[in-house]
Every structure is written in C-alpha cells, then in structure tokens.
C-alpha cells in the first residue's frame, strides 16, 4: 500500500513539474509549486523522514508560496508568449538525464539495509545518541549536537539572506 502511494505521489510530482514548465500564468505556476512541495512532504513521510516533511510543509509549501505570491503583486503575472523550445537545452537535459540514470544502475536498491550509507556513522548515532546526547529524536541530536557546526553555518545563511533582502528591497530612511 505504502509502495503504491510512493509511486502515485512521484507520478503526480512529475505531472506538476511538467505543468510548471508549460503553464504561462505565473499565478498558477506559484500555486503548483506549492502543491509540488506539499506532495514532496507527503513522500518524505512515507520515506520515514518526518522532520523533513514537517519542514518542507511549513517552509516549501507555506512560506515559499507566500513569497512567490508577494513577488507576483510586484511583477507581471503572465509569461511572455512565443519563446521557441530550446533544442540545445533539450539535448543537454536528455544527455545529463541519461548519464544520471546510467549512474543509478550502481546504486543500492530501494530500502536495501546493506547499502553503504547505513554502515558508516549512522549506526553509531542510533546506538549511542541516547547515552551521549539524550533526546529520543535522533534527528535533533545529530542536527543540534553532532553536527552543530553545520547548523550554525546554516543559521548564518538565513541571517545573511534576511539582511540581503533588506538591503535589496527595504527603503532606507536616509537619501543616498
């Protein structure tokens, strides 16, 4: 059942992605990207990533859509007609896609417990995090403690992005 859902949701995501590509009304595109994001969040729940799903639903489907709509109040809502499909782009995409698909033939299969990724540091996190860090949610332990540097850097990225947006859009009180 869950496997069927996995296939259906991925199929719907492909449809949404292609619709984003074809539609000219940017309002529809913004709403579709929110729906696409929400489908992604559902998929993460199926794949056991509840924390990620939570974040995606709040950030990707919520804030990103709101920002996109906020932008559309400031810029034209229709994409210009009559741009020809880019043959070079199509070729690049086809070539890159086939190379990547060829590369996946070496990947471990879906859900394979013997995949290399599950035998590196992850077992140690699962086994020792209760004694070493404490929280039952291993994702929190890894995020805030084992990989605290990453999260510090990322918080700084958010900080910088907010300052960047302010610098670009907020009107200064003083005239230059």
């Amino acid at each position: 059942m869950i496997e069927l859902l996995d296939i259906v949701i991925l199929g719907m995501m492909v449809v949404a992605a292609l619709a984003v590509l074809w539609l000219r009304d940017l309002f529809a595109v913004a709403m579709l990207s929110g729906a696409y994001s929400l489908m992604g969040a559902t998929l993460y729940v199926l794949l056991d990533a509840v924390d990620v799903a939570f974040t995606e639903a709040a950030v990707g489907a919520g804030i990103a859509t709101v920002l996109m709509l906020g932008t559309l109040t400031l810029v034209p809502r229709q994409e210009k007609q009559g741009k020809k499909p880019s043959l070079a782009g199509l070729f690049t995409v086809a070539a890159t896609g086939s190379l990547l698909i060829w590369a996946t033939l070496d990947m471990p299969e879906y859900g394979d417990p013997d995949a290399p990724i599950h035998h590196h540091v992850a077992p140690r996190y699962m086994k020792d995090s209760t004694a070493e860090v404490g929280p039952p949610n291993v994702v929190t332990s890894v995020l805030a403690s084992y990989r605290g540097y990453d999260t510090l850097g990322e918080t700084t990225v958010i900080f910088t992005a907010a300052i960047g947006v302010m610098a670009l859009l907020a009107r200064g009180r003083r005239k230059p």
Partner: protein, 121 residues
C-alpha cells in the same frame, strides 16, 4: 506490491531534468526560480530515498526496548532539513533580485532585458 529497485531514483532524475530544463529554456525569471525549486526538491527526494530502510520507521527512539525495530537512516534527514531552509533563503534573495530587476528594466523576461542592455550600450 513492491517499489521496483531503482524507481525512486529514476523519478527523482526525471524531476531534476524537468527543473533543469525550466531553468535553461524559460526566459521568465520567476519561472526560472520555480524551476530551481523543482530541481531542489528532486535532490531532496533522491537523498531521502537513500536513507529509507525497508520496513523501517522514523528515527525517533521509543522509551522501551528497541530490539528488532528498524530505524531509517537519520543522516540524510539532517542534511536535507538544513538544505530546505537554505533553499528558502536563496529563493527569497532571488525573488528580491527579480523585483529589483523589474523596477530597473520594467520587464522580467531575459531576452527583453538583453535587448535593453544592448540598446543602451
């Protein structure tokens, strides 16, 4: 019913290429940013799929004994959690740039902007 071995990866790659083509072939700057978002989420799907273990559950340890319970790998979850938030930060900055470009050029179509720049030069 089973998920065929590499199906999720292939779908992720199709999504990735749809996003990449949107970025390459569409001239509208907002559309390009949405394409970038599509690409981004396809990468997330790829990573989260790698972390999944069959018959596993979310990596939240219960209070009782955990023998025989399979937990999915928490590491990709952490990486992608941070990536999502960085993604919204870059999207916001990109949209701010688009707004400024529209104010400066009166259009957000790539080729129109190019024409204006050539006429000025």
């Amino acid at each position: 019913m089973e998920v065929p071995g590499l199906f999720n990866y292939w779908m992720a790659i199709i999504l990735m290429m749809a996003g990449l083509y949107t970025v390459i072939a569409r001239g509208n700057l907002v559309k390009k940013l949405v394409g970038l978002g599509v690409f981004q989420i396809s990468v997330f799907v790829l990573y989260i799929t790698m972390g999944k273990i069959k018959d596993g559950t979310a990596p939240i340890l219960p209070a009782g004994p955990v023998d025989g319970v399979v937990f999915s790998n928490p590491l990709p979850h952490v990486l992608i959690l941070t990536a999502i938030v960085v993604g919204i930060a870059t999207t916001a900055l990109g949209l701010a740039l688009v707004v400024r470009i529209h104010e400066a050029f009166g259009t957000i179509e790539e080729d129109d902007i190019q024409d204006i720049e050539e006429n000025e030069a």
